[in-house]
Amino acid sequence: MSMAAVETKKITLRTADNHEFEVEEAIAMEFSTIKTFFDENPDASEDTIPLPNVTSKCLSAIIEYCKSHLAFRARETSSSIDEQVRTYDEEFVKARDNESLKELILAANYLNIKALLDMLNQAVADRIKNKSVEYVRRFFGLENDYTPEEEAAIRAENEWAFEGVDPDDD
């Protein structure tokens, strides 16, 4: 039984840590995963959508991002708007540590929010550019699963790419 049509329809999302977020439909539609889901299941909009892969911390940051960018897009394009968008994006990533950037990337990837994902990928890329192999292993939490011979072979093959790498400062 459908309720009376409301001006701003809200969608309820439940995160992995069991917090519920009510968001305007316009914002939920920024998440391509959810948009596609609703396109295929138009009757499901009343239900609470579980997001077992997204924490509340991530989701609230993502919702803020989408809200802000929707607001930017609603205004007329100009170079000062572009400048504000750039500043907003910079601020969005600047204070976050590597762990939270990774979490955000996983969430943005899962929810399929292309603009946010590109922006986050660029931010992480900037953090690993010209960094050593060991630094990047720690950054991604990856174990070295090469044998010493295999690793030596790869390093020899790409010797030119190892020159002038930033020293690890820890």
């Binding site: 889901f37 299941n41 959508i49 990337i105 991604f140 990856l142 699963d145 790409n158 190892f162």
Partner: protein, 342 residues
């Protein structure tokens, strides 16, 4: 350990449900890693394949290397090679002919910046069509079908132009004249400097004085700027000071290239990349009035300046670049200090 990439599954058991969750929040899936790497540089992608086996798969994937290739690569190079990475590396090591064979194109390996060489036929050479002054020949060591042989001129004027839109934006470029002496030898260039210039068409451009002296390179150059290298101090004993201009420095003389040709730097240019304009590079000797000749011109090369210029390259002190030039042009066994200058 790999995590699965989530895919949309419309409808499941017992009603519609969202895609199944990733298995491990701590490990980014391979295609996420590839997406991040496509925002780094070719150099980073090659180096970081040493991180782990999963990282290597991501780092070598077509998704990453396609983003490093120029957007019109399919028109430039036949993509018969297996992977995009192989295609990329091939474009770095083997320049391809474009523009009807008038130019060659390649990529700077570490930074995916574009490099070009304008063939002699693509240049504006004054008197170039007059056979008493210039001759067009084909030689096997040139990448182009024809090179221009300077028989003899008084008025030397060579100009090349390239559209800014062809170059990589936000990049420091340097231009070089690529040439060598004919078998009978060059003359008229050993003491007479030429004026090189690089700049946007319609502007003054940056000018520098250079020497197209191929002989001095073989005989051993004597840069006046002291570098504390014993070999060069011998110039003082042979009275050569008088004939060498006191302000000449090493980078005003030709250097030997890996492909065996000589090159002389004409100037540099920072491309911001947002214009429709053209860059002009030129070599002029029109004041001396004397006859000169005996050069073969392959073309003008424009390539990124790796010495502390481009943002993606590890900065190299410019001293090091000049020293490399000194060392590569030298062969101490061939130095003949008893030879006298003409």
């Amino acid at each position: 350990m790999k995590s699965e990439v989530s895919e949309i599954e419309g409808g499941g058991r017992g009603g519609p449900s969202l895609p199944s969750p990733l298995l491990d929040l701590n490990a980014l899936p391979q295609d996420c890693i590839a997406a991040i790497l496509s925002f780094t540089t070719p150099r980073d992608a090659c180096r970081l394949s040493a991180v782990s086996t999963v990282f290597k798969s991501a780092a070598e994937s077509d998704a990453v290397w396609e983003s490093f290739l120029p957007s019109d690569y399919r028109a430039i190079i036949p993509s018969s090679l297996a992977s995009k990475k192989a295609l990329y590396l091939s474009l770095c090591d083997n320049p391809v002919l474009i523009d009807g064979g008038r130019k060659s194109f390649s990529l700077e390996r570490g930074s995916d910046k574009k490099c070009y060489m304008l063939s002699a036929r693509d240049l504006f050479i004054v008197w170039g069509d007059t056979p008493t002054y210039w001759r067009w020949i084909s030689i096997p060591e040139s990448r182009f079908e024809e090179v221009a042989e300077l028989i003899s001129v008084c008025w030397l004027e060579i100009r090349g132009r390239i559209s800014i839109s062809m170059l990589s934006p936000m990049t420091h470029y340097k231009a070089y004249l690529v040439f060598k002496a004919t078998t009978s030898g060059a003359y008229g260039f050993d003491l007479q400097s030429v004026e090189a210039s690089v700049g946007l068409v319609g502007t003054e451009g940056q000018k520098r004085t250079v020497y197209l002296d191929t002989e001095r390179r073989r005989r051993g150059r004597f840069p006046i700027a002291p570098r504390g290298i014993g070999l060069f101090n011998r110039s003082r004993f042979f009275g050569l000071q008088a004939s060498v201009p006191t302000t000449a420095s090493d980078d005003q003389y030709p250097k030997v290239r890996v492909d065996g040709w000589l090159e002389i730097e004409l100037g540099e240019f920072f491309n911001e990349g947002c214009t429709d304009e053209e860059l002009e590079m030129s070599v002029l000797e029109i004041k001396g009035g004397h006859w000169k000749g005996g050069l073969v011109i392959q073309g003008i090369e424009i390539r990124p300046n790796l010495c502390g210029g481009s943002e993606n390259n590890a900065p190299v002190p410019s001293d090091l670049c000049l020293n490399t030039g000194i060392l590569s042009g030298q062969d101490s066994k061939n130095q003949d200090f008893s030879a006298s200058l003409p």
